[in-house]
Subunit: 219 residues, 2 copies
DNA sequence: CTTATTATTTAGTTTCATCTAAATATTTGT
DNA sequence: ACAAATATTTAGATGAAACTAAATAATAAG
């Protein structure tokens, strides 16, 4: 399994909503910042290896083996991110690029020991769940902040966009995972929100709200 | 800089006794388990990139940049080995393969933070010195056990062969870095040695002695 | 001082992952 | 339902990094 093959599986997994939907050539090309023709080539190869199903012009979806492989790479990525933040004090906006490299290190033993060393974390620094050794992925009832109703309260549990610029924005505005948020008002015109977060009120754009996941708390 | 290029630089550095001697095509091919013709190709490329000097039929030697790059890779390799042993409890015979992969992760920040996290170690688990950030390599007065005279005392400071089989042999026979060793007798016929190690006597073959480094202690 | 041996290089091929340009299939809009 | 737009695939090329087989240079041996 090459780095490139692993990256394709990861991208297809993400695009396919955990393997349910079939994924188009162009979507993969976009996600991976490559050309559709390159995707066709790779997809043929992965298909021959039994990692995904492919019929011309009909998109692809991962096989069981393909899904397990993708989850194994995602597991590595997320565990390494935890390591970088917890043990090496990187901030959450600096770890993605490095984890993109570390996720390809081949050693199950290594990742298991690292996992133990970190105390078997369940989530990465961006709130994404870490797949188990067996390839089970915890699915939570998190919702985008844009989908919450006025007066609903939630706890910020994850980000959708993990780009450095978005994460830096959150840091600068003192919004962190675990924070309690209540929707005070929604602006019809631009979809922006008035929220109460940790005793202070603030106004956030729709763009921001649509990249923050919350878990609604009753009451 | 590709993984392969880094591996070539590392191999040439090791073969060239820290850049002093010029290294032959065949020696590199042997070291890297590849064909001489492949070496010629790569050496031409590295030469064009200014990492080594190459004249047909006359071997190569690293430039300043080439040496610095090699040392940077070696630094990464050794720091990762310390991490694997100290933090993840790998044994010293398991870390080489994994470090061969980790040494190619591109991030100076990562290796500096890891270095700090480990308390700025000076030696890797096999007793090899870790180059500084600036590319300085501590050279010690260690000598092979085969070069020590009868009645000389030394401290075991490093191994020459880092293969799993040799290291496992040492573990099994309770020989570890830091142990005090005295040469009791040398057998003319096969070069084997009678040694005193930590209150017990044992007999070791020339093959073993020629892969153990000691630092002679006076008295 | 030739010849034989060994070392090294050249030339041409392969595999991998990408690309561009062109061809073909599918989908959409009227 | 047909043309236009979009998506996808094919064909052919490129750059790494390896290989094999053949040619050439350097070295060693008689």
């Amino acid at each position: 399994m090459t780095h490139s093959e692993e990256n394709y599986l990861k991208a297809i997994f993400h695009l396919g909503k955990m393997g349910a939907e079939s994924v188009s050539t162009n979507a993969i090309a976009d996600e991976m910042d490559t050309k559709p023709s390159s995707v066709t080539d790779m997809v043929k190869k992965l298909s021959e290896k039994g990692l995904l199903h492919y019929k011309k012009y009909q998109g692809v979806h991962l096989t069981g083996t393909g899904t397990r492989t993708a989850l194994s790479v995602i597991r590595k990525h997320r565990i390494w991110e935890v390591f970088l933040v917890e043990k090496l004090s990187f901030s959450w906006d600096e770890v993605h690029e490095i984890a993109e490299q570390l996720e390809h290190i081949k050693s199950e033993e290594l990742i298991d020991r690292l996992d133990a060393h970190l105390g078997f974390p369940k989530y990465d620094p961006h709130g994404d769940p870490i797949p188990s050794r067996e390839g089970k992925l915890k699915l939570s009832d998190k919702r985008l902040l844009t989908e919450a109703a006025i007066n609903e309260k939630g706890i910020c549990v994850a980000v959708k966009d993990s780009s450095a610029s978005f994460l830096k924005f959150l840091d600068k505005n003192k919004i962190a995972l675990g924070d309690h948020i209540m929707i005070l008002d929604k602006e019809e015109f631009d979809g922006s929100l008035e929220i109460q977060i940790k005793q202070r009120k603030m106004h956030i754009s729709n763009e921001i709200a649509s990249n923050l996941y919350v878990k609604i708390v009753e009451g």
